[in-house]
């Protein structure tokens, strides 16, 4: 008997256990997604792709989505890196409290948080009223139903995705390297900037890519906080299916979104060599 068959026999139980869940995923995930994507080339030509990639409206939607995803990733980095650092050097008690405060919003539904932001950001919302009362502004700021509102809501949802990978890399940095740098005459600031920050860059890449990729497919937050005025790809796909029943074009747009997401995710995996231990 060949080694391969022997291997198969030894793996019999593992194969048997995997069969039902694999069939489940093939039937209810792989098949419907493949079926949807096949609509993009119905009629045997690439007309839908041509429209998605040349029509001014769709080009604008793609550019707007990329712009928002980039801004969200940048803000998450600015907010998340110091927070991750604070958590990494905090005493165990404070680190636990900090994580509880990070996980509570993380697991609270996106819908609840979006609703709360609508209350906070409206023309007569809490934020505008506070700023007016304090005399910081004379006119209410336009924070809702525009790009600003969408970005604030998305940063709130995605910030933990930035903090977790950065934190996990920071915890693994050998502290003695910092002491060594200081022993060799570096100031604490220099040691931080020239030794610590470069060592944590893999976490920064991981977090930024994760936030960027998830941003591309966002739907609930732009739909509600954008008030129909901020067109991101997810919102556009929903509209194509529900309002215009244009499955072919929706599928073409979906493929472009998926290709971008998968491409960036693959790039991330290569950068980290499969080291997604935080997840």
């Amino acid at each position: 008997m060949s080694a391969g068959l022997l291997g198969l026999r030894r793996d019999g139980p593992a194969i048997a256990m995997g069969t039902v869940p694999l069939l489940f995923l093939l039937l209810l995930f792989v098949y419907p997604v493949a079926r949807l994507l096949s609509f993009s080339v119905e009629g045997g030509n690439f007309a839908h792709f041509e429209k998605a990639l040349t029509d001014g409206l769709y080009v604008q939607v793609f550019l707007e989505t990329l712009r928002i995803a980039l801004i969200v990733a940048a803000i998450c980095l600015v907010l998340g890196y110091p927070l991750a650092y604070g958590l990494a050097i905090a005493s165990p008690l404070w680190a636990t409290i900090g994580f509880a405060f990070l996980l509570l919003p993380f697991w609270t539904s996106v819908l609840v948080r979006t609703y709360a932001w609508m209350i906070l950001l409206g023309r007569n919302g809490l934020l505008n009223r506070t700023l007016l009362d304090l005399g910081i502004i004379d006119q209410p700021l336009a924070l809702l139903h525009n790009r600003t509102g969408v970005i604030i809501g998305m940063v709130h949802v995605l910030l933990p995705y930035m903090v977790f990978p950065i934190y996990s890399v920071m915890r693994r940095v050998d502290r003695q390297l910092l002491s060594a740098a200081e022993g060799l005459g570096a100031s604490p600031t220099q040691a931080f900037r020239r030794v610590f920050v470069p060592l944590t860059l893999p976490g920064v890449f991981a977090g930024a890519t994760l936030v960027f990729v998830i941003s591309l497919g966002f739907f609930i937050t732009p739909a509600l906080l954008g008030g129909g005025r901020v067109m991101m790809i997810g919102v556009q796909i929903e509209r194509l299916v529900r309002q215009f029943l244009d499955w072919g074009l929706a599928a073409a747009v979906a493929i472009i979104l998926l290709a971008a997401a998968l491409g960036i995710a693959a790039l991330l995996r290569r950068l980290l060599r499969g080291d997604l231990t935080w997840s």
Binding site: A90, S91, G98, L159, V213, W278
Partner: protein, 270 residues
């Protein structure tokens, strides 16, 4: 946030700045969660902040409204079924991936985590297109299937991580002592990875209970709790949604505490 500086020394100015910054970011994270509590107890006719007075009127509105109640029960039933299905299927798949050494295992692993990478909006319209052909739109069972796909990767990741650290020779020892393979897994392995199973089940439950987009497409006129909230938010912002938000936040806190007490890996960082 108190940072463990060297004992006996005052915190450096840089440290103080860092703490202040972290506190501000935390306020940003928690403010939206905090804001819904006072609003849910408002006595006002419409949404006002700060509320002119406090009452339980919006809680009464929620409990006495048959549409809200039906949506709540529907979401609970869907979440419970999803939890059961996803935990069982995900655990089987995790066993297969971690223990197996068969050709094609890498592809199976890819398929198991793919639902995380494909944006929910794309999966939603895909499964909507499929189920529409079978006249399954509006059936809660259809939403359970969609939510199970959505929750499976979490279960596979959490249970898989536990299995990787579990010493498989214990199972072989049990088999050597006369247990069947199934007995060995049931009596030796499963009890030891129970914390991971509990965490996975909790996360599957929350991921279904909170899910909007799949339920929006598959639910038809049978709305789940998130879909009902979505509809109310797009119509007008009124305090009943704040009541449901408070209940969800309390539920998530409870689940997180239970997961921290009985589970493992609720903290997604090692």
């Amino acid at each position: 946030m108190v940072v463990s500086g060297r004992p006996g020394r005052p915190l450096a100015p840089g440290r103080k700045l860092l703490i202040a910054y972290c506190v501000l970011v935390m306020v940003f994270l928690l403010l939206p969660l905090a804001i819904v509590f006072p609003i849910s107890f408002s006595s006002a006719q419409s949404l006002q902040f700060p509320p002119p007075g406090y009452s339980l009127r919006w809680y009464r509105t929620y409990v006495n409204d048959p549409v809200w109640m039906a949506a709540t029960w529907r979401s609970l039933i869907i979440a419970l079924w999803t939890t059961a299905l996803a935990t069982v299927l995900g655990t089987l798949l995790a066993f297969s991936i971690v223990r197996g050494n068969y050709p094609g295992k890498a592809i199976v692993n890819q398929i198991a985590t793919a639902p995380l990478i494909v944006p929910t909006i794309i999966y939603s319209i895909a499964v909507y297109g499929l189920f529409a052909g079978f006249k399954m739109i509006g059936l809660w069972q259809g939403i359970v299937l969609g939510h199970t796909v959505h929750a499976l990767p979490f279960v596979v990741m959490i249970v898989g991580a536990a299995l990787r650290t579990f010493d498989a020779t214990q199972e072989q020892a049990a088999e050597g002592l006369g247990a069947s393979k199934l007995q060995a897994i049931r009596r030796v392995t499963l009890p030891q990875i129970r914390p991971a199973l509990i965490s996975a089940a909790f996360l599957a439950f929350i991921s279904s209970f909170d899910e909007l987009v799949i339920a929006m497409f598959l639910g038809g006129s049978n709305v789940t709790l998130p879909k009902k909230m979505f509809d109310n938010i797009t119509m007008e912002i009124e305090p009943t949604v704040a009541v449901v938000s408070v209940l969800q936040i309390v539920l998530v806190s409870l689940v997180l505490m239970l997961a921290a007490r009985f589970g493992a890996g609720a903290r997604p960082v090692t």
